[in-house]
């Protein structure tokens, strides 16, 4: 380790001590200066730090000298910096600070009740923001219906491409694998009871009514929902949203409505593709594991799965699409505080959308069971 560059000599007793500093007092030797100087003046009533022998002082060194002095003064003990001349005095003067007689009071410890209150307050505020957002969106929708041209559809094509076409391969792969996994689990159990022919209905109904729409929506959340939240969050912290408002553009109609429309249109299409691939995954197991002819699987599928089953799945996917876009955009537009804020809002968006999807799916299932669909 390099030499700190300064020399420190202490003289005098516990009542009144003189600490002579000499040599080069800079930030480079700051850690050692901080330690030695504080030790030298620690147990004295008054201390005088003599800087007559200091050849060079930089800003960091001056800041540390003042910090030692202020710490002592804050504890009600005397301390003075003296003897500086020339450039050393000039640097000292530049960094000069008035002594701070009172140390800052320690922060008040958090009370449990106050913390609970803060959390409840934050929750209430976030719900208020969600309702305000929905209100704004309804208003924007009403105006968009009256003036369809006021909706910004310039990036509609690229949004469809990003949310739909680009996501197609992963959606096809995951749905195929989910169908295959479900098929394999079902085939093992059904084979024990000689019910091989029911694999098509098990996989078909599960995929078409539940897993197809839900898995596709979850994948779209990870891709497009997160992208929407990050994109709008970045625009928010860069004041681009404010700029839009000053240009007379409503962010709801300019940014949110196109995204909602895109997902409402794209998600059902992706779901149909997902349903097909999921069913195909089940068929692969039926043919490969159960040695069942493909035509039997298709016939059983046709027998058990009707258009109402497809309809319920597609109905879900329309609502899921709207929910993903709405929640992601709302969280994105609520971003604050730079890059970290965008990260937080994106994470919050994905979590909130996933929770919303599962809650909506449960509600749909309950409603459909009541309607005997």
């Amino acid at each position: 380790m390099s030499s700190p560059g300064f020399r420190l000599t202490a003289s005098g007793g516990a009542g009144d001590r003189v600490v002579e500093l000499a040599g080069v007092v800079t930030l480079a030797g700051g850690a050692q200066l901080w330690r030695e100087l504080r030790d030298a003046v620690a147990a004295t009533d008054t201390a005088r730090i003599d800087l007559a022998g200091v050849e060079r002082l930089d800003g960091g060194g001056a800041a540390l000298l003042y910090a030692v002095r202020d710490e002592r003064v804050g504890r009600g003990r005397g301390c003075e910096l003296a003897g500086a001349t020339g450039d050393v005095a000039r640097v000292l003067e530049l960094y000069g600070s008035p002594p701070q007689p009172e140390p800052a009071p320690p922060p008040r410890p958090h009370a449990l009740l106050a913390d609970v209150g803060d959390v409840a307050h934050d929750l209430w505020r976030s719900w208020q923001a969600v309702f305000a957002f929905l209100g704004d969106l309804c208003w924007a929708l009403a105006r968009a219906v009256r003036q369809p041209r006021s909706v910004h559809l310039g990036e509609f094509g690229s949004l469809v491409e990003r949310a739909g076409t680009d996501g197609l391969p992963i959606i096809m792969l995951i749905n195929f694998l989910v169908g295959a996994i479900l098929g394999l689990q079902g085939a093992i159990q059904l084979h024990r009871f000689g019910g091989d022919q029911f694999l098509a209905s098990l996989v078909g109904l599960s995929v078409v009514r539940e897993l197809g729409p839900l898995m596709t929506a979850i994948l779209v959340t990870g891709r497009s929902g997160a992208a929407f939240a990050a994109e709008l969050g970045t625009m928010k912290v860069n004041e681009e949203i404010d700029a839009l408002r000053t240009l007379g553009q409503d962010p709801q109609r300019f940014l949110v409505l196109p995204r909602v429309l895109v997902l409402v249109l794209v998600l059902p299409v992706l779901t149909v593709v997902g349903d097909f691939l999921g069913t195909l995954g089940g068929m692969a197991i039926a043919v490969g594991y159960l040695q069942q002819p493909a035509v039997v699987y298709v016939q059983m599928f046709e027998l058990w799965v009707d258009m109402l089953d497809f309809g319920t799945g597609l109905m879900k996917s329309v609502v899921f699409g709207a929910a993903i876009a709405l929640v992601a955009c709302q969280r994105g537009l609520a971003a604050r505080g730079g890059a970290e804020g965008v990260g937080r809002s994106t994470t919050a968006a994905v979590v909130a959308v996933l929770f919303t999807l599962v809650a909506l799916d449960a509600a749909f299932t309950w409603i459909f069971s009541l309607l005997d669909w």
Binding site: T26, L27, A28, G30, A31, W34, D58, G59, G60, A62, A63, L64, Y66, A67, D70, D87, R90, V91, E93, L94, Y95, S97, V237, R336, G337, G338, A339, E340, G341
Partner: protein, 247 residues
């Protein structure tokens, strides 16, 4: 006078295409040098090349006696204020200034905090230490950026458009701060700007760039250039300031 920055026959550009060539000048310790020129003339590209963020196409940049940008394992020998201040948005001003101290010194946290507070005090931001960059004005962000650039007591400061977009009073305050650093702490300042009032207020010398000429067209004290330069481009640049003062 000892040079702390030597620029020799430098060619700068993007993607192998030269923008400016044959740039050469020295900067002495404690000197304030303004690199000036019109918008898009390559001032910021020159700055990025000087601080090592961009490779020169030809020529060299030396920092005699203090190392240079290539010494990646040692503390940076210069501080940089970027045009946007480039403060970390999710950190307070104090945390921004403490970052280089915690990275490059062995100071314990309370000592690093004291040094960072002293830097903020120097630029008049002690009371805003716990604020986020988004909670302070553009001028305050610039001053916080200077405090961060000063954190390690670098012998050279590079400032990219420090007073751009600021009101005249705030800009004058920043000019005063630059003078304080140069005269009081002997910090060498290389200033990239096209703000004429700032140039006239703080610069000891100017390096004037011109895109069409493809290099340096004037080198000298600002008032001398303003009054005695034979180059019509230099005269036009400085005359614009005279016109703005009469309005």
């Amino acid at each position: 006078m000892t040079a702390v920055l030597e620029v020799r026959d430098l060619t700068i550009g993007h993607g192998g295409v030269p923008l400016l060539a044959g740039i050469g000048f020295d900067v002495a310790r404690g000197e304030v040098v303004a690199v000036l020129g019109g918008s898009g003339c390559g001032k910021s590209t020159l700055l990025r090349t000087l601080i090592g963020l961009q490779e020169p196409l030809a020529g060299s940049v030396h920092f005699p006696g203090i190392g240079g940008p290539e010494q990646a394992m040692s503390p940076p020998q210069f501080g940089v204020l970027f045009q946007s201040a480039a403060l970390f948005g999710s950190w307070t001003l104090l945390q921004n200034v403490m970052l280089p101290l915690q990275k490059w010194t062995l100071l314990p946290k309370d000592a690093a905090r004291a040094v960072a507070m002293a830097r903020l005090r120097l630029v008049g931001l002690e009371a805003a230490a716990d604020k986020l960059p988004s909670e302070v004005s553009g001028g305050m962000r610039k001053r916080a950026g200077i405090a961060r650039a000063l954190a390690l007591d670098p012998p050279i400061l590079f400032l990219d458009e420090p007073s751009a977009g600021l009101d005249p009073v705030t800009a004058a305050g920043l000019d005063q701060l630059i003078l304080t650093l140069a005269r009081g702490l002997s910090v060498t300042v290389v200033l990239v700007t096209h703000e004429l009032p700032s140039i006239l207020a703080v610069a000891d010398r100017c390096v004037m760039l011109d895109r069409q000429a493809g290099g340096v067209i004037a080198l000298g004290a600002p008032r001398e250039l303003a009054t005695h330069s034979d180059d019509p481009r230099v005269r036009a640049f400085f005359r614009r300031e005279a016109a703005s003062r009469t309005t």
